[in-house]
């Protein structure tokens, strides 16, 4: 019979419409006002269509979500190395970066002039970065990770969108917060080494 597909498709749309209101009746105002309602709307079991009221409420990003990379540093209250950067300026990330958006310079000891495992400067042009995550995959020291912060639109590219070392550095506790299971995995792997 002709037209069956159209009717089926319309049925799907109608189902979405009905389910939206069914969920609204089930939850009532709580769906939009309470934290439980927000979690329920975010879950995969939610039915119906709803709008993400973006600036007021944000979709929870998955742990594997990746945006711009950041450099891991020890927290300021770390007993042995407070605020020390993990990066050893080996430069593997710059070599694997497909769009070549990372610039890095190995630091030198101020007295002897010998190279030290600490980058003198570290720049990422986030308007070139294609969020592939290869730098984080290849880093042998787990020192570069993919961030979840996507609210970085700005008015000027040259001043605001070329991130330097200070802007890229984020504490380890931040990484443990945004990706708890991966941070634990990496921690265990380092312990057993």
């Amino acid at each position: 019979m002709y037209g069956l597909g159209i009717i089926k498709g319309l049925g799907v749309t109608l189902k979405h419409l009905v389910e939206t209101y069914v969920d609204d009746f089930r939850w009532g105002v709580r769906r939009y006002t309470t934290d439980d309602g927000f979690v329920a709307r975010q879950s995969t079991d939610t039915r119906g269509i709803f709008t993400v009221q973006y600036p007021e409420e944000k979709l929870a990003v998955p742990e594997r979500f990746r945006y711009i990379p950041f450099l891991v540093v020890y927290d300021d209250d770390h007993p042995d190395h407070p605020g020390e950067i993990w990066c050893t300026s080996c430069g593997i990330c710059t070599k694997v970066c497909p769009p070549q958006c990372i610039w890095i310079m190995r630091g030198k000891h101020p007295e002897t002039g010998r190279p030290i495992p600490d980058p003198e400067y570290f720049y990422i042009d986030i308007d070139i970065c294609m969020n592939c995550g290869l730098c984080a995959e290849y880093c042998p020291f787990d020192a570069i990770k993919m961030d979840h912060d996507y609210e970085i639109a700005s008015y000027d590219r040259t001043t605001a969108h070329i991130f330097d070392k200070a802007k890229l550095s984020k504490p380890l506790s931040y990484w443990q917060k945004i990706a708890p299971s991966r941070a634990l995995e990496e921690h265990l792997a380092r312990e057993t080494k």
Binding site: I49, F50, T51, V52, Q53, Y54, P55, K58, L59, Y67, I68, P98, P99, D125, I126, D127, I128, C129, M130, N131, C132, Y150, E151, I152, A153, S154, Y155, D156, R157, A160, H161
Partner: protein, 221 residues
């Protein structure tokens, strides 16, 4: 965007005191604020997409993220009727003349939002033979949204950033109320190809010669 009490208080001029009993009835504002407030909440984008970023732009325009909350749901298919050009995706050298022409045809005030890595700085195609490394080499860009591609929420953040810029402008200094016509941006012309495939053998010979010459000097050194 739903108006919160904060937005209204921002619209009111705080310098002039209003008696408490009249606060719900009287709003005192400046011309700049009401002008920018209405402008920022009715920015109509131009309906065009260039590459994969356009898919995210379409997702943003759908009901899930609903730019109608910002008064931005009307994607106009004509440059005469829109205020915002979302350069969503890779700008090839062949596409630049059309984009500049569309920009020239847009009525002022007009804004440009470079969406994604390719439109902002060339992205993975920078220094490519057929891709422009950043649309800001040709037309002035107001907001850069990084990401490859930016998620719908990142693009919405870009919209909000643009709204903030619009709200910061003053009717006294905006260029479109100045005397005289605004200059049109000259439409770039697509030049000859960097590589002519018909000269393939010559190019190969030349590059091989260059390579071997370089190799020799390296060896000697």
């Amino acid at each position: 965007m739903t108006m919160t009490p904060d937005d209204y208080s921002d619209l009111n001029n705080p310098d002039i005191p209003i008696p408490d009993e009249l606060k719900s009835n009287i709003a005192i504002t400046t011309l700049d604020r009401i002008y920018n407030w209405s402008r920022a909440r009715s920015v109509w984008p131009l309906l065009f997409g260039l590459a994969c970023c356009a898919i995210e732009m379409i997702a943003t325009a759908a009901s899930r993220y609903d730019p109608a909350r910002f008064g931005m749901e009307v994607m106009r298919p004509s440059p005469r009727q829109c205020d915002l050009m979302i350069v969503s995706g890779t700008v090839t050298k062949k596409m630049v003349p059309q984009i500049v022409r569309l920009y020239n045809q847009m009525a002022e005030p007009r804004y440009v939002l470079a969406m994604g890595a390719c439109a902002s700085g060339g992205g993975p195609f920078k220094e490519g033979y057929n891709v422009v490394d950043g649309i800001d080499k040709f037309i002035p860009v107001d907001v850069y949204v990084p990401g490859c591609p930016p998620t719908p929420q990142a693009l919405l953040h870009g919209f909000i950033t643009l709204h903030k810029k619009i709200e910061g402008q003053s009717i006294m200094s905006v260029p479109w109320y100045k005397k005289g016509q605004s200059e049109a941006i000259p439409v770039p012309v697509l030049g000859p190809d960097l590589i002519d495939p018909r000269q393939g053998e010559l190019i190969q010979a030349a590059s091989e010669g260059e390579y071997s010459a370089q190799f020799e000097t390296d060896e000697n050194a």
